[in-house]
Amino acid sequence: MRTALTVLGVIIGVASVVIMVSLGIGLNQLMLEMYSSYGDMTTISIFSNARYSDSGSDSDPMYLTDEVMEQFKHLDHVTGVSPMLSCYALFKQGVYETSIDITGVSQEYLEKIPLGQGQAPKEGDPMKLIYGNSVIQWFRNSKTGKGYWDTMELPDVDFMDKPMFVIFDMDAYYQSQGGGENAPKPPKKYMVETAGVVEGGVDDYNSYAYSVYTEIEGLKAQLKKIFKKKPIPNQPTNKKGKPYPYFIYDNAVVFVDDMANVTEVQKVINDMGYQANSQMEWIEQSQQTYDIIQLVLGGIGAISLFVAAIGIANTMMMSIYERTKEIGVIKVLGCDMGNIRNMFLMESGFIGFLGGVIGLMISFGVSYAMNNFLGLGQAMMGVEGDISRIPLWLAASGVVFAVFVGMAAGFFPSLRAMKLSPLAAIRNE
């Protein structure tokens, strides 16, 4: 009975430690999931300071060019590089139209985009587009001038099965729309095939949701073809106002092999003189906060385990007190002192083990209940997911720790048992 109560103490102690730590882990991972939904955590975005604020120096500004991409590619831990080049274009299907950026990215980048429909274009394919799952919201009816945001009705645009027409030369387009008699002919419309649409519903946010992507080499070729000798919009010019003979990218992304190396690579790129950003910065900051939360939660649990340890020590003392005579007898009969100590250590260790195992089972139950019935994850983080997570290492170390606490609590009582005088056995009461 007394042992059962002691075990109960350990059960509560272990369960509270495990649950508290599992909450800490859950919060931390929820946060990671939240960030990863904003974008891949192993990518670093790079901007050039020179892109918009032209410095007065004589040397060429630090533009992001193919040459620079090549440098990035050879950095340690970098698995891939994608330049990003965007061009503003008009999309038309039936009465619906919208103007939005097309972003040219590398083949590698395209293949990372999770598609709900269609397939990523293969290398060497003609220019094909990947639409974000929310892009459809931008389209408006050119007759009524009303769009999704006015009517809250999804425009009747079909990326996959109906042809989409794209106008790249926006200047020419505006001039033609300007009205008047000498308005020029509207520029040429191109029919561009759709490769796929990003995974997710119209309202599901992800980092690709509102963009249109295409393979960058195809885009570059297309732009050269359209603008010929004219300067390509958005491309900077040199001191004499002439465009450069090569493309200058708005920004770029670098893929890193592991989350752990992101910060390091980011630093190298920053030192090269570019502006590098990644999710890791934010994660590291919040990670520190969550580490503290976890420490506090674990501490609360540890207190109850500590109380349980005192309970074990007390039970062991009582049990040794009760068995003084028995201990004396076996000592007179020649039982090794070490054996006596081990006997009690085993007993208290077993109390710890039993409490640990049952406590762990209860933790799993509570954790399951919190995850499935309370929806705490949603409430606290605004992300769907399990708020309490018990990884294998936590389960294992929970039990090991309980055994350890049991043995530690039983250590001094067992030393006492070992040192008990055998005379106690002989004394008659």
């Binding site: 076996i330 055998p422 008659n428």
Partner: protein, 263 residues
């Protein structure tokens, strides 16, 4: 002592005040020299033992007799290494035990000493066989072998039928027989018994006493028994009379072997 009359014939013996027997060549097994035990109670010193010298021999049945508080138990406990002497030497089987550390003493008891308690001190959670086998288990003997030996000794003390009884499901006399079997099972050189019959009626007392003497004789073991009863002491080969922590006299008794065994 109404029952005692039957055994009167046994007391046909010769008791002498001397402590030497020139007829037998005897090997000493316990040698005690100038042994003191002083308890400090507050400021005052209690001389539980005040300078004791004697020798006990192999195969001997020795009784330590004396009034209550004379220091009998104190002496026995020191001989068995349960208590440290304040001064003096105890040599058992040529080994000085007064200098031993506690774990050495435990090992010493495990190897050479059997102990019979006044209050039996069987472990309640074990049955007769397991109780007897317990000290064998401390020697690391495998279970099958030690249970076999335990059964053999239980048979020897006449408990064939009670082998599987739990310790507290037995009468005092039966429990003490288990206690004796437990002391004998390890085949010790010396068996110490502190008032082994103190809690038993006189009939059972005689049975137990004779049983102990018979077995010890057969196996050439030394039995040291503490008692405050002069009559019981007279069954021993030698009686060590203690008064106030000093040996008052050593009495030697010669018994007629045949009659003893009959009884």
């Amino acid at each position: 002592m109404g029952e005692g009359k039957k055994t009167d014939a046994l007391e046909d013996k010769v008791c002498q005040g001397s402590d030497s027997d020139p007829l037998k060549k005897r090997t000493p097994i316990i040698e005690v020299k100038n042994l003191y035990k002083i308890y400090k109670v507050g400021e005052t010193k209690v001389y539980a033992l005040g300078g004791v010298d004697f020798t006990m021999y192999r195969g001997e049945f020795c009784a330590i007799v004396g009034p209550s508080g004379s220091g009998k138990s104190t002496l026995l406990n020191m001989l068995a290494g349960l208590e440290k002497p304040s001064k003096g030497e105890i040599v058992i089987d040529k080994v000085h035990i007064e200098k031993m550390k506690e774990n050495e003493l435990v090992a010493f008891r495990r190897k050479r000493v059997g102990f019979i308690f006044q209050s039996y001190n069987l472990l309640k959670t074990l049955n007769a066989v397991e109780n007897v086998a317990l000290p064998l288990s401390f020697r690391g003997m495998p279970r099958k072998k030690r249970n076999e030996i335990a059964r053999k000794y239980l048979k020897l003390v006449g408990l064939e039928k009670q082998m599987d009884h739990m310790a507290n499901a037995m009468s005092g006399g039966q429990q003490q027989r288990v206690g004796i079997a437990r002391a004998l099972a390890v085949k010790p050189r010396i068996i110490f018994a502190d008032e082994p019959t103190g809690n038993l009626d006189s009939k059972t007392t005689m049975e137990i006493l004779k049983l102990m003497r018979k077995i010890v004789r057969e196996q050439e073991q030394t039995l040291v028994m503490v008692t405050h009863d002069n009559h019981l002491a007279s069954y021993a080969d030698r009686q060590f009379h203690i008064v106030d922590g000093k040996i008052f006299k050593i009495e030697e008794c010669h018994h007629h072997q045949e009659e003893e065994i009959e009884g």
